[in-house]
């Protein structure tokens, strides 16, 4: 047997790795995904806010928002119509192949499911908060008044019952597609080529590459502009990639510290 993907996490004969392909080119910004997610997962409300950010009054992913629809209004070069274009995109936890949140969790509350997704066990999490700054996408967050960390579970309960996650089920335009990751990657590649042929040269895939900084995302996207325009990091890297180097530096620092103490005490007595 060859080297297993970290996403298989040692399961014996796991089901295929499941994921999301979010094709933002057909997103109409209806927010049905946000609503369906909240309803199914019983996620508390996060206030009725008017953010003044186009039609986005959610702001971003948080402990209480596991799907977030971004709205970007852009001037369009050389367009004969309104001169504007809409970008709409439903963001979600990326369920990284190399997941920083999972790596740094000190309690084992975060775990890898048999579907290759990353889920928090709410009965284990003690709210240490380490996963929150570790996530390169700013997905996972602490719920105020509850203290624990929460994020998208890729509807683990529904997956176990062989059901489609709530957001993908509710999406009226098939912008959110759910399925085996391998299949989704092929589908995304075909869609990308279709768009390029149609002259939409700004289309690009994001998070699809198993060789990227997080080993490829379980939830990846087709975007029409650079990732940062959607609030996504342009080149995310799992922080634990540098962890061996960090431990080496800490070891060196620890030896330096011990040596300094020894030298200080070995010095001549006055």
């Amino acid at each position: 047997m060859g080297e297993q993907s970290p996403a298989s996490a040692g399961y014996q004969q796991p089901p295929p790795r499941m994921g999301f392909f979010t094709d933002t080119s057909v997103c109409i910004g209806c927010k049905a995904c946000e609503v369906a997610c909240k309803e199914w997962n019983q996620v508390p409300d996060d206030g009725l806010n008017l953010l003044g950010m186009s039609f986005d009054n959610t702001g971003g992913l948080s402990a209480n928002t596991w799907r977030h629809v971004a709205f970007i209004e852009q001037p369009r070069n050389g367009d004969t119509g309104s001169g504007m274009r809409w970008l709409m995109s439903s963001d979600v936890c990326k369920h990284c192949t190399r997941a920083a949140c999972l790596d740094v969790c000190p309690t084992g509350a975060l775990f890898r499911t048999e579907f290759g997704t990353v889920v928090v066990q709410e009965d284990i999490c003690n709210g240490c908060g380490y996963c929150i700054p570790a996530c390169p996408y700013g997905v996972i967050d602490q719920r105020r008044g509850d203290g624990r960390a929460w994020k998208c579970t890729l509807c683990y309960d529904r997956l176990k019952a062989d059901l489609t996650p709530a957001c993908a089920k509710a999406c009226p335009t098939a912008s959110i597609q759910y399925g085996p990751l391998e299949e989704l990657r092929e589908r995304a590649q075909a869609r990308l080529e279709q768009l390029h042929e149609a002259g939409e040269t700004s289309a690009r895939l994001y998070g699809h590459d198993p060789d990227d900084g997080v080993g490829g995302a379980g939830a990846f996207f087709l975007l029409l502009d650079e990732p940062e325009v959607y609030g996504l990091p342009p080149d995310p890297v799992v922080t634990t990639r540098d962890l061996p180097a960090m431990w080496r530096r800490a070891g060196l620092a620890a030896l330096t510290m011990a040596a300094a103490a020894v030298v200080a005490f070995l010095g001549r007595r006055p």
């Binding site: 996060d46 206030g47 953010l51 003044g52 950010m53 702001g59 948080s62 970007i72 852009q74 920083a100 740094v104 000190p106 309690t107 084992g108 509350a109 999490c125 003690n126 709210g127 240490c128 908060g129 380490y130 929150i132 700054p133 996530c135 390169p136 996408y137 700013g138 997905v139 602490q142 719920r143 509850d146 502009d225 940062e228 325009v229 959607y230 609030g231 990091p233 342009p234 080149d235 995310p236 922080t239 634990t240 540098d242 962890l243 180097a245 960090m246 530096r249 800490a250 060196l252 620092a253 620890a254 510290m257 011990a258 300094a260 103490a261 030298v263 200080a264 005490f265 007595r269 006055p270």
Partner: protein, 357 residues
């Protein structure tokens, strides 16, 4: 909860945005969702980068003051354990006693801070559910537990003179110094790990100015731990026994200041959060007090008062440094330019490399 900090509808007006060394982002971008600022007479070209209404990309740590406070008390506990063992092995009983008691006090404070910061404090013991080398917090929990199991008994052994001379308790009284020595040496062996793992703890995050500072953070914290422990000893011990502490203060300060200087200058754009704003003020104040503390420790070797004042300066300086490093990281997480800029440059560099090939 979500409404904070976006009153300008996505066009960045918070602070001034300047290109810093080579870390700036490409200057040819505009459009909605773009965060830019026009400064007509800017000498340094302004950095431009795109973002989603200027909102942060990564989440800033939710850790409160407890964590930087723990960085300080954990370092103080570790440094003091070294002082205690050194004092014990070189026949300086005042240093031994002061070191052990400071260690216990700082360790107790550390435990309080760490538990208090949890979202679910009653589940603190879940920290010892697993041992995970990929999680510096898990590694740190085990280090702290082992340290407590050695430093605790070492400190308690200082109470032996309160026991009666005769009977079974008299036996305990006679054995206590040897047991305390063994425990104290054990604690001193663990102490450097306790003082330095916290550098990895902060660096092993997506927080840009922490992550990129990973080579320096353990050194800054090690130096700061030594200087603070020397400071505590200078306050507690009579001047006749403190000559090692003065050397320790000098060495600690040198390690700490060299590390801090490096993060403030080496990281390009990511050095900025450490030199400006609250973090900049804290780190500058810390540096000044460190210098004063070391000078006082070296020059005031005959005066108990000057020594104690120097010790207080060193302790305060160490706390300021920890809060400064913490604040700098938080600042770098809150502004998307620190996330987008370096990543964009990395991508551009890779693309250029590919073209050349």
């Amino acid at each position: 909860m979500n409404a904070s900090g976006t009153g300008d509808q996505g066009r960045g007006t918070r602070g001034t945005r300047r290109e810093t060394q080579d870390q700036g982002t490409r200057p040819d971008r505009r459009g909605e969702g773009t965060r830019r600022e026009r400064r007509d007479a800017a000498v340094v070209p302004e950095a431009e980068f795109r973002s989603y209404y200027g909102r942060p990309i990564i989440k800033a740590p939710v850790w409160r003051y407890d964590i930087p406070a723990y960085l300080f008390t954990g370092g103080l506990a570790a440094g003091s354990a070294l002082v205690a063992a050194g004092g014990d092995l070189t026949g300086r009983p005042a240093l031994r006693r002061a070191g052990r008691l400071t260690t216990l006090a700082a360790l107790s404070a550390s435990t309080y801070f760490l538990i208090n910061d949890l979202g679910r404090p009653e589940r603190f013991h879940h920290m010892l559910r697993v041992a995970k080398p990929t999680s510096p917090m898990s590694v740190g929990s085990w280090i702290l537990a082992a340290f407590g199991a050695t430093a605790g008994p070492a400190a308690v052994s200082e109470l032996a003179p309160l026991l009666p001379r005769r009977g079974p308790l008299g036996l305990v009284r006679r054995l206590a110094p040897s047991a305390g020595r063994v425990a104290g040496i054990g604690a001193a062996m663990i102490a450097p790990a306790l003082a330095t793992y916290t550098g990895v703890l902060l660096a092993d995050t997506a927080v840009p100015s922490w992550h990129e500072a990973y080579p320096e953070l353990p050194f800054i914290f090690a130096g700061s731990a030594l200087a603070s422990a020397a400071g505590a000893g200078l306050i507690a011990a009579p001047v006749e026994q403190t000559s090692p502490l003065r050397r320790l203060a000098l060495a600690g300060a040198a390690i700490e200041l060299a590390g801090a200087h490096s993060v403030e200058t080496r990281l390009g754009l990511l050095s900025e959060p450490y030199t400006t704003g609250r973090a900049g003020r804290l780190l500058r104040a810390g540096r000044t007090l460190t210098a004063l503390g070391v000078a006082g420790a070296l020059l005031g070797r005959r005066s108990r008062v000057v020594s104690a004042l120097s010790g207080a300066a060193l302790l305060t300086a160490s706390a300021l440094t920890r809060f400064g490093i913490f604040a700098g990281g938080v600042r770098s997480a809150e502004d998307p330019k620190y996330t987008v800029g370096p990543q964009r440059n990395r991508l551009t560099g890779r693309e250029n490399g590919r073209e050349r090939r």
